[in-house]
Symmetry: C2
Subunit: 324 residues, 2 copies
DNA sequence: CGAGGATCTGACAACGTTGTCAGCCCGGGA
DNA sequence: TCCCGGGCTGACAACGTTGTCAGATCCTCG
């Protein structure tokens, strides 16, 4: 900038004014400055600029589990879209479900002076963020709640969706519903399981012996479905609590030519092309992410109202559920 | 930092030394400083730090078409992984295939003083990056070549993969191969088409009347496959130049109970579960991205050798191709 | 004709940090 | 005894930019 000023024969302040389109610069002086900028290939240092002005860095931080996962990729895409509408860049970090790493990354994002944080929590204690939030870096949590910190949160209606889906199974006459899930250490799993139990209990059908935990991949899901079907009183319906599990269940049911009803939480691409029909509790991931991002930008723009908890509704997409 | 220094009764420089683990600080002084840091919740301003030291910002920029797209999400994931290995954060921007937007985003990334750029080009002229690169911001292009700029490039072997796949069709006795693609304005489409033509020409089977352009979505692909099959001399095999097109082709061939051979470029999740078998020219997107990212970090670390062009091989994944 | 405002410009300090350098203290060798 | 070097500390300037303020010029209006 000093060089540009020298070449144009003006002060650095005038160069600053020109590159920021500030008023009160004679058109011909501005011309000279712009010529010098072009000649020297000058580009404003955004870091120094936001350091001095103390203003926004026009950057927000997004912390997710893993970028390559389609669910998080969709979130990142929707957030990027909203960010772009606010001329803001996106700093993305993957916690890999590791709370220690999550904490370190969030601190790092704050050290980089992001204007706000969008977090899919991995850990369950975010008290360490309190000082940052108080110092003016707003944070919005999505898909899972924050721990130990009053903060804006945008969640899916996991419980309501699971309840509605299982109620449908019950109404179709199913009495024994196998429930397949990963781990109750995961918030979404707990909620979905609770919803399923709500619906079963309401019909007097609760039976914890039909719940299978610890299913992490499609292969395990397929094996567990097989085991349940081989029992003396097999379930006539299955509820898979996420799409990895649904996938394995589809494979096994199809392989056996079973007539069991299959309900899944999470829709996914191509599910309608799969060889076994199943109904899903679906939701719009983009709405989840956009809602959170828009809330964050309202905070960044100065909204200081009390933290909000928003719930994104789910939809039961019926692709055919056989009666009992 | 001034406050911390005051509270600990030392100079700011000593605080700086402590937070940077610099040598020559008495352990008890360091203790006092750390206590003050904790009490005030001090966090180093990474922006100011890299402004003053002129050193790296520990941030790289990644420019892709669209984060939500699984191909780019996989790239982003692999790049994030490599970045994390180098304690570097990732600034991601989506060009949305718009060259003007691409240019603006790349400039913006440079203004943010990223240590390096990883670019999936949207436009075909990147001469505007020359001054940045000369000033020391290395750039590596991936999946598509840069235009008007000598730069490191990491590409898939589109042409070789397509050639190998189509050669396989020819060897199985197919004489009429329908070729389905989007637009030759896209580099990868041009290369794949060239590879297919190579293989057909080598067998004396080139016939441009079997090439169909402008297919942007599965629905169009399905329609075009139907049209080709309804012709008096229908193809006995199809080559879909990307996975969106493969998907539509699968649907139509399955619907008609056709026995045509289907070859696709790009593998995708679940392809093995689809109702119609097809063979794909596959590649490892993660290798593509990791290779590019690792090259970028070598540049960042000072490698000044001549720009390199790397080719990532493809693999023919045979899931069954009927003979003619 | 002078006051007051609008327009234009630049000197200077400051944002939060770190590189440079000078200075202090202390122990050990000549 | 003096000198030297290593350990430790702080004052100051600087990174590239912009906020503040003051000064200069010109126009308008009473």
């Amino acid at each position: 900038m000093v060089d540009v000023a020298a070449l144009a024969g003006v002060s650095v302040k005038t160069v600053s004014r020109v590159v920021n389109n500030a008023p009160y610069v004679q058109p011909e002086v501005a011309q000279r400055v712009l010529a010098a900028v072009a000649e020297l290939g000058f580009r404003r240092n955004h870091l120094a600029s936001s350091l001095r002005s103390g203003q926004a860095t026009a950057t927000i931080g997004l912390l997710i589990e893993e970028i390559a996962n389609p669910f998080y990729a969709t979130i990142a895409g929707a957030v990027a879209e909203v960010a772009s509408e606010h001329d803001t860049m996106l700093l993305i970090a993957s916690s890999e479900e590791n709370p220690a790493r999550e904490q370190q990354l969030l601190r790092d994002l704050c050290a980089r002076q992001v204007d706000g944080l969008l977090v899919v929590p991995a850990g369950d204690d975010h008290a360490f963020l309190r000082s940052e939030v108080e110092r003016g870096t707003p944070a919005v949590f999505l898909d899972r709640p924050a721990g130990g910190l009053p903060a804006d949160t945008v969640l899916l209606d996991n419980r309501g969706g699971a309840r509605a889906g299982v109620r449908q199974l019950v109404e179709l006459g199913h009495r024994r519903v196998g429930i397949l899930l990963d781990s109750t250490a995961i918030y979404t799993m707990r909620e979905r399981l609770a919803g399923a139990r709500d619906a079963l209990a309401a019909a007097g059908l609760a039976d914890d012996r039909l719940i299978r935990y610890g299913i992490r991949d499609p292969e395990t899901a397929a094996r567990v479905v097989g085991e349940l079907l081989d029992e003396p009183e097999p379930p006539s319906a299955f509820f898979a609590l996420n799409n990895r599990i649904s996938l394995g269940a589809v494979e096994e049911l199809h392989r056996r030519g079973s007539a069991a009803a299959l309900l899944g939480f999470d829709d996914f691409d191509l599910s309608r092309l799969l060889p076994y029909p199943f109904t899903v509790v679906a939701y719009d991931t983009r709405t989840l992410a956009r809602t959170a991002a828009e809330l964050l930008f309202r905070r960044i723009q100065g909204d200081r109202s009390a933290p909000r908890d928003l719930l994104i509704p789910t939809v039961l997409v019926d692709r055919g559920l056989p009666r009992r």
